[in-house]
């Protein structure tokens, strides 16, 4: 007899294995540079969305400021490696710590707020950070940004080009997926879900609501920061452009479409929405309609499929399983 927990870990490891196989195979199957770079981008977005998924789906808190954390990671890497000539890995680590500290400073007071207020507070923070990226001339290079950021290195191997970056990014994604799954299945994960359902009830059961909320906020910010650093070392150039409110909204769309109450939702959403965006970008007839499409997809998913793709898939799976159990009985 296996315990339900052991069973869920065993069954749960199959998707992870499938993910690893898929990641290893992707650049071998798709030899086109463009497709490989899209794959790497999906990895970056997956990483940000994964953190946001923990925050939204499990703790029930919305952030509209994750572009700021993504940007903090990217700019930390850019500034520390180009101006102070630090090692990229060290810069990434310091960026993550810095971002975590900023998230803690922002999160501690604002996470006492609920729903709408938190969304607006993080939105305000995100916009302030973009203004800082633009106006922090001497440090951030203003609109021009920072160029010639060195790539990451492993031993003598420098991680340049689409394929190596693809593998580096997705290696981090796989690690974070595994870490997130452990977190979600742990006592902390259950506490977070309790907070999502009712903060009052969770608090009554002895869950330290505000501490957990701040911790998951910091964790999700760190995920975004690492993604930002990976982005900076991959593209070797940062400017304020990508770190706008539009990015935060894009991540929200990814999480909602993929399904916020499931770790896999982040990956599904990132893959689907990025592929969709690329397709729209390539099709001249609807190229200008990308905003319309984005807004429409978001509204339709919220109204008709609030649990997202992952939610719908797991519901479908559960139904199949139930049917099979009926037949066996």
């Amino acid at each position: 007899m296996t315990t339900p927990r052991a069973r869920s870990v065993f069954l749960g490891s199959l998707p992870v294995l499938a993910l690893v196989v898929g990641v290893v195979a992707f650049p071998l199957v798709f030899r086109n540079n463009y497709v490989q770079s899209v794959g790497a981008t999906i990895g970056l977005y997956s990483l940000v969305a994964l953190g946001l998924c923990l925050l939204i789906g499990y703790a029930g808190q919305v952030s509209l400021g994750h572009a700021a954390f993504y940007g903090l990671g990217a700019y930390s890497s850019a500034v520390l490696t180009t101006r102070l000539h630090w090692d990229p890995w060290l810069a990434m680590l310091v960026g993550a710590v810095l971002t975590g500290a900023v998230a803690w400073l922002v999160g501690r007071p604002t996470l006492r707020l609920h729903g709408h207020h938190l969304a607006m507070a993080t939105l305000g923070f995100g916009i302030i950070m973009q203004i800082v990226f633009i106006e922090g001339d001497e440090l951030t290079g203003g609109f021009g940004g920072i160029t010639s950021i060195p790539p990451l290195r492993i031993g003598g191997l420098s991680i340049t080009g689409d394929v190596r970056n693809f593998y580096a990014i997705w290696a981090v994604v796989v690690l974070c997926v595994m870490a997130s799954r452990c977190l979600v299945d742990s006592r902390v994960g259950r506490a977070l879900r309790a907070i999502h359902d009712s903060e009052t009830a969770a608090a009554a059961c002895g869950v330290d609501v505000s501490t957990y909320k701040v911790q998951v906020f910091v964790l999700s910010a760190v995920f975004a920061s690492v993604a930002g650093s990976l982005y900076a070392h991959y593209i070797t150039f940062v400017s304020p452009d990508p770190f706008s409110l539009a990015f935060s909204i894009q991540m929200l769309v990814i999480v909602i479409v993929g399904g916020s109450r499931n770790v896999w939702g982040a990956l599904l959403g990132a893959a689907l929405m990025t592929a969709l965006a690329q397709q729209i970008e390539k099709t001249d007839a609807i190229k200008d309609l990308s905003d319309v499409a984005y807004g429409l997809v978001l509204v339709l998913f919220i109204v008709f499929m609030p649990a997202g793709l992952a939610g719908a898939l797991s519901k479908g799976l559960a139904r199949v399983r139930a049917q099979r159990a009926d037949e066996n009985a």
């Binding site: 709408h116 207020h117 607006m120 939105l123 203004i131 409110l245 984005y294 978001l298 509204v299 919220i302």
Partner: protein, 293 residues
């Protein structure tokens, strides 16, 4: 220029801009009171009002006609938004509500970009641009139009809430939705009306603002953010507070840009927002116990 003169000048131009923030804040408040929803598409209502009016004026429709038409058109958009996106989610979580109105705002922006193109649209000031003089300060006539329009809207909305049955019914919903329903008020209809009214006045704000700042498909979000700051500073749910909060913010922004740095102009309101949210989430003018929190 002497310090006192520049102080007066910055204050005067701050009031005009602040009046717009205030009216957008009032728009947030009306919807929040009736439905408990913060509508993230509020700025797009302002943007649409400006674009519709600019187009009408360019087709030689007189401003006196373009203003109400634009307000009405945006009110219709507000009704549609409530029916198609918000109402199906009435029993859903705050997160769903937040995201659906964000979706609507992205959608409206996309539609506006498609219809009016990516560039800013200009609109002539209602009565020329020969500056008026108020002591040592120069005032653009359009700024007078802005303040006057906002005044008319505020008084009108106040009269509506205090002296009409529908207005009173909407206030009843704001106080207690369940009790209002029991008293025979159709809460659903009030929700719809709140969206229409709020969109309409935001649209009008967009029309009078357009000659001052130009308007494009993307000009809604910054206005919405400031309008929301105004509503929070005034205490979310407090209509008069929203207008006062808006004017305070406008003056602060104008003085900050004049005396500190214009680079960070757009950050001032947001800093105030964060400070108020952290230190006094019920707003400067709100009561300590706020049901929104």
């Amino acid at each position: 220029m002497h310090l006192a003169d520049s102080l007066l000048q910055f204050t005067v131009s701050g009031i005009a801009l602040g009046a717009i923030y205030g009216i957008v804040g009032l728009g947030f408040t009306i919807i929040f009171n009736a439905t408990g929803v913060i509508n993230f598409a509020q700025g797009e209502f302002v943007m649409l009002g400006g674009l519709v009016a600019a187009t009408l004026v360019s087709l030689h429709v007189p401003v006196a006609l373009a203003l109400p038409i634009a307000g009405f058109a945006v009110a219709i958009v507000g009704l549609l938004v409530q029916r198609l996106a918000v109402q199906p989610l009435t029993r859903s979580s705050v997160i769903s509500m937040v995201t659906v109105t964000i979706g609507v705002s992205v959608l409206l922006r996309g539609v506006a970009k498609e219809l009016w193109g990516p560039n800013s649209v200009a609109m002539a000031p209602f009565s020329g641009s020969q500056p008026l003089h108020l002591g040592t300060a120069a005032v653009e006539p359009q700024e007078v139009w802005v303040v006057a329009t906002v005044l008319v809207i505020v008084v009108g909305v106040q009269l509506f809430f205090e002296h009409t049955m529908v207005g009173k019914a909407m206030r009843a919903c704001a106080i207690n939705r369940a009790a209002a329903q029991l008293a025979g008020i159709s809460v659903d209809r009030m929700n719809l009306l709140a969206f229409g009214l709020s969109a309409g006045i935001s649209g009008l704000a967009g029309v009078v603002l357009a000659p001052l700042t130009m308007v494009s498909y993307s000009s809604g979000t910054p206005i919405a953010v400031k309008g929301f700051c105004a509503a929070i500073v005034g205490g979310l749910g407090n209509s008069a507070g929203a207008v006062v909060g808006g004017i305070l913010l406008g003056m602060l922004e104008s003085l900050g840009a004049g005396f500190i740095s214009s680079d960070y102009k757009n950050a001032f309101a947001l800093l105030v927002l964060l400070l108020v949210l952290v230190l006094r989430p019920s707003g400067l003018l709100g009561k300590r116990t706020d049901r929104g929190l």
